[in-house]
Amino acid sequence: MDFGLSEEQEILRKSTCNVMEKECPPAFVKETIKDEKGYSPELWRKMAELGWMGFIFPESYGGIDGSFLDFTILLEEMGRVCLPSPFFSTVILGGLPILEGGNEEQKDELLPPMINGDLILTLAITEPPGKYTPDGIESRATKSEKGYILDGTKLFVPNAHIADYIIVVARTKDGVDADGITLFLVDAKARGVTCTPLLTIAGDKQFEVALDKVEVTDERILGDIDKGWHIIEKIWSKVIVAACGEMVGGAQQTLKMTIDYAKEREQFGRPLGCLQAVQHFCADMVADVDGCRYITYQAAWMLSEGLSCVKEVAMAKAWCSDAFKRVTKQGQQVHGAIGFTEEHDLHLYYKSAKKWELFYGDSWFHRDAVAEQMGL
């Protein structure tokens, strides 16, 4: 066991942190959230140049074949600054299914431009039932002459407005089972695709994507017909741990801001941090944050090593969901009224924690998965 970063990891962390702190200060985050696009193309380009989009992709596509463990460090630093960008949707929700399920042509066509920063991707999985299980997929793909016709309503699709392609999860066979689900690479500008923005608590860009007789050719099928859910299953652990990575960063930053504030803010003629209540709050926060860190990196390490880690992944999200939220709540309480203002930066984390709690299953959901793994 080794709880420390290796020298290379430490360099990666530091350099990522430097870029993020310089390019993505809180003022930038707030401005970008208000902007319709929701990201900065300039920063996006810089990120591509730094090789971030290709971090976990093979060199053959222009990637740098980094480990998922190291990639988590990258995500942690993004979470630390609440980076608004289509990175998660493009690389994790878009790139991974293509890498996992695409044929050579698709990979050759899509991965290099994605890695170069020329392609924005997203995944349309959730539908009105609001679930991440096969029985939540009701969108229909009907066989046509040239391929398929897609109909349905997708919800909570990140960055659909700027995406070039939307990977749509749809049913090619009736029912509620995993078998019969297929993935389609849909041109976001195709006829019949309508994106309606949703207003979200964290200000990130999510959309309703209405599919009305959208034509897709057979070439745009990702993986095997009816077997699309296998692709989702294969990448899903990484999706969850990537989310946890961002949460680790956010939780750590919240703790840091709170400690700094407790040291500098005076009340009753002494620093706030002299109060035992504040001290105990902060001590509880450390346990939450360190817990997020260890449990997340344990899962990331296992993914990197190719070990089976269904339980560890569920544990990570179960813990991070609750812990990050608790940390932001306690952080707010220590900050008092100042933290409740839009001007202050703390609310970015408070909102982010709620968003991440709800995405990809909350702690109830993941604890049930843990119970399953315990044989309960």
């Binding site: 609001g130 009224a337 409740f340 203002t341 609310h347 709800l358």
Partner: protein
Amino acid sequence: MDFGFTKEQESFRQEVRDFLEKKIECGAFKIISNGWLENSSQEFSKEMSERGWIGMTWPKEYGGQERTYMDRAILMEEMLTCQAPIAYHFLADRQVGPAIIHFGNDDHKKEYLPKIINAEISMVLGLSEPNAGSDLVSVKTYAKEEGDFFILNGQKVWTTGAHRADYIWMIVKTDLDAPKHKGISEFILDLKTPGVTVRPIINMAGVHSFNEVFFEDVKVPKENLVGVKNRGFYQLMAQVDYERAGLERLMQNYPVFVNLVEYVKKEKRNGQPLSKDPMVRNTLAELEVEYQIGRLFCYQVAWTLTQGRIPNYEAALCKAYCTQYEQRLSDAATRILGLYGQLMPGSKWAPMDGEAADSYLWSVSYTLQGGSLEVLKNIVATRGLGLPVAKK
């Protein structure tokens, strides 16, 4: 012991309900969390005034109705259930009026009380300053005596509603040399007085609810000082028991609960109502029990006031408990809604018109305003239980 209401109380409650139903029917306001405080309507307040519902506990000699605090609690419970727009008169009715009755002179009473009761003026509280939050005695805004005037300089912050109010009721320093507690006085000040500047603060829910208020060489007539000079802190401490007593600290986001319960009954998951999910049931039942406990705490305070006793620690306890409940409610609501729980008001697909998410943002302020949770617990421990005052 008696946990029921009298016939008169029940019929009063019905009267308030009928009034509110009519107002809602004719579209006077919408039932929305925090609406009671965010929506200010002089017109609505005037209608309440006509019914004797402002200053209803005050002595008749000041235009009040001399009704009990229990009646007022019933009134408030109904108002808050609908989140009626009572902000215009709320602070003056709850706090400033009683303070004037206790500490004001005859001129103050003649000048302000009728206007409050008739909903002709709106008032806000100016307590916190940038370096005096929980630690109120550290206020630095200074009123210097000069002839018949005080010259006011300084700044208030987190002043809820100052942008739409007429008067500010404030504590300021009047003796720089005295020990902190003994150099503070209470003033009432017209916000249109030259030298007063109100600047908006936008909160994290994106709403302009509170303000900074700056005072630059503001000339305040001496008669605006209320009560005894340099005794303001002690006067204030006597007032806050009223502030802390109310159902408004339990029911700020009450519509969230009502709507959530309805939502889970209708919404289906796996072919059966979400209300059959054991985690959801347990969570909602827990909130219901906690709510009912909070309601009993609130009525206990109203009962204590009705007995003519000061709800010493009970008011602090009640507020500490209730505001925490409201936070748990908004958290549970967003969570039960799942991915939908992140959708804000106005969003397509937002259940309960986004109130859950919105209330999750507002809820941050609940345990801060009017005495933070920690300060309230200190009060319970020291004033209520007689534990020794801790070194801060």
